[in-house]
């Protein structure tokens, strides 16, 4: 089975981001980067699918040449190949633009299943996977917490506000991965050594312009500081007063 897992490099979770001088983007100077949290789960599920059903896993990313570090890490964990669609604007693309570019490459790869994180933790849109499935005419299950594949049929469980939904589908399919689906492995020394010299091709692609225009980026409004209304039982009347009159919740 041909399997693709898509990843995106995003600022680390601890990153302190600053708005750039143009007030339309983020200042990327000094930021450290990582693979989006949910994309790691996607790659792990791709490798587990290969281990169960055979085939090969390609890690695909739209990004700068530095993405080779991330791709190589996943090859050390068990992915067979990596492809970088070289793009210095990867973090400034809208959902449709990223999805169109990745869609064309997935179609070319002849994949039967493509794994994505449920969203990338920079723009938090969560739209690329379902969009690609729609254009390819594939099945898609999002926010997946359990996956079973048998032959060309699959069953996935997805988390919703009402409970856990069970969804059945046929391959080809897009799966977007939620926390809890698996626990990503670490690369071992043998894996790291095995992929050290492997080439990771950088490919060009046909550009797709954005439909989204950034008008302004600003830091979030400052949170009001907390207030201690008193201590012990004596503070209860003051607390109730504050909840009733200031917060309006009781």
């Amino acid at each position: 089975m041909k399997i693709v897992a898509c990843i995106k490099r995003v600022p680390t979770t601890e990153a302190q981001v600053k708005v750039a001088a143009d007030q339309k983007s983020l200042d990327t100077a000094g930021l450290s980067w990582m693979t989006s949290f949910y994309d790691e789960i996607a790659v792990e599920e791709a490798i587990r699918t290969k281990e169960k059903h055979g085939g090969d896993v390609t890690v695909l990313t739209l990004g700068s040449a530095e993405a080779s570090k991330d791709v190589r890490e996943f090859m050390a964990r068990g992915a067979d190949a990596g492809v970088i669609l070289k793009d210095d604007q990867w973090h400034a693309r809208d959902v449709r633009s990223s999805a169109r570019i990745l869609c064309a490459r997935i179609q070319k790869s002849g994949a039967e299943i493509a794994f994505f994180g449920k969203l990338a933790t920079d723009r938090d849109n969560g739209g690329v996977g379902p969009m690609i499935a729609t254009w390819l005419g594939w099945a898609c299950v999002s926010d997946v917490v359990a996956l079973e594949i048998a032959g060309t049929q699959g069953t996935a469980k997805r988390e919703t506000e009402q409970g856990i939904e069970t969804v059945s589908f046929s391959l080809p399919a897009v799966i977007t991965c939620q926390k809890g689906l698996n626990e990503p492995r670490r690369a071992n020394l043998k894996g790291i050594m095995a992929v050290k010299q492997k080439p990771i091709p950088e490919e060009a692609f046909e550009d797709v312009p954005n439909q989204q225009q950034v008008q302004k980026v600003e830091p979030p409004p400052a949170r009001k500081p907390g207030r201690i209304v008193g201590e012990g039982a004596a503070a209860v009347p003051a607390l109730i007063q504050a909840l009733r009159n200031e917060a309006g919740v009781v």
Binding site: P11, A15, V17, V19, L26, D94, V95, R96, S97, A99, L119, T121, D122, R123, D124, N125, G126, G127, V128, G129, P130, M131, I132, A133, T134, W135, G137, W138, A139, C140, V141, S142, D143, T155, R158, E159, T160, E161, Q162, G163, I164, E165, T166, V167, S168, F169, S170, A173, N210, Q211, Q212, Q213, V214, Q215, K216, V217, E218, P219, P220, V249
Partner: protein
């Protein structure tokens, strides 16, 4: 006034609060709202939507629980209505459907918006980046503005109107089908629908 199509979620004939807020968001953009409701109990839920400001309500009857078939219906209605925008609440169903509908309308997606505005047909969205570390104001040149609205942000106000109700047979032949749902305990409020969230600390010494 731009036509705005809103997907309304319902449970046992009652529209979800997040969807009513989404209708409120569409109305705040000055839009004429066509609400679409699907599933068992959809007609009862649709009857309530005029009160919250929907001008039209379309009930999808029959069909199967398939997100791709539902997305195809939503996109077809948006096209027929000449909609300038498609909105859904940023719930698990809304977040799953909206990108599919956007793809069918060849439009990009603005997820989890915290403010929306429109000048004529030109929509602007405000949404968080990096889990709220930055707030972006975004314009759209998409053929149809597709967005999901964050629950508990927009007001669901009663307008006291009456919606024109129509029914439509839902498409079948979806590629993925929901075959079951292990429901949470009945009566337990989902945190996204909660009007007030109280967080307790260690000082409470137990639940």
């Amino acid at each position: 006034m731009p036509n705005i199509v809103v997907f309304v979620e319902q449970l046992s004939g009652k529209p979800s609060r997040a969807s009513l807020e989404c209708i409120g968001a569409a109305r705040s953009c000055g839009g004429t709202v066509t609400a679409i409701v699907a599933g068992a109990g959809a007609d009862a839920a649709a009857a309530e939507l005029g009160r919250f400001g929907a001008a039209k309500a379309v009930v999808l009857t029959g069909g199967e629980a398939s997100p791709d078939a539902l997305a195809a219906d939503l996109a077809a209605i948006a096209k027929e209505q000449g909609a300038k925008a498609f909105l859904a609440a940023a719930t698990s169903a809304g977040r799953d459907l909206a990108p599919r509908v956007a793809a069918l309308l060849d439009s990009t997606l603005f997820s989890d918006c915290t403010a929306l505005s429109a000048q004529g047909d030109a929509f602007t969205a405000v949404r968080p980046w990096l889990a709220g570390k930055a707030i972006a104001t975004l314009g759209s040149s998409a053929p149809v503005f597709c967005a999901t609205t964050r629950p508990n942000v927009f007001a669901a106000s009663e307008a006291g109107g009456k919606a024109e109700l129509t029914t439509r047979a839902a498409q079948s032949g979806g590629k993925a089908k929901v075959t079951g749902i292990a429901a949470k305990a009945i009566g337990k409020l989902d945190v996204k629908e909660a009007p007030v969230v109280v967080s307790g600390g260690r000082g409470m010494k137990g639940p």
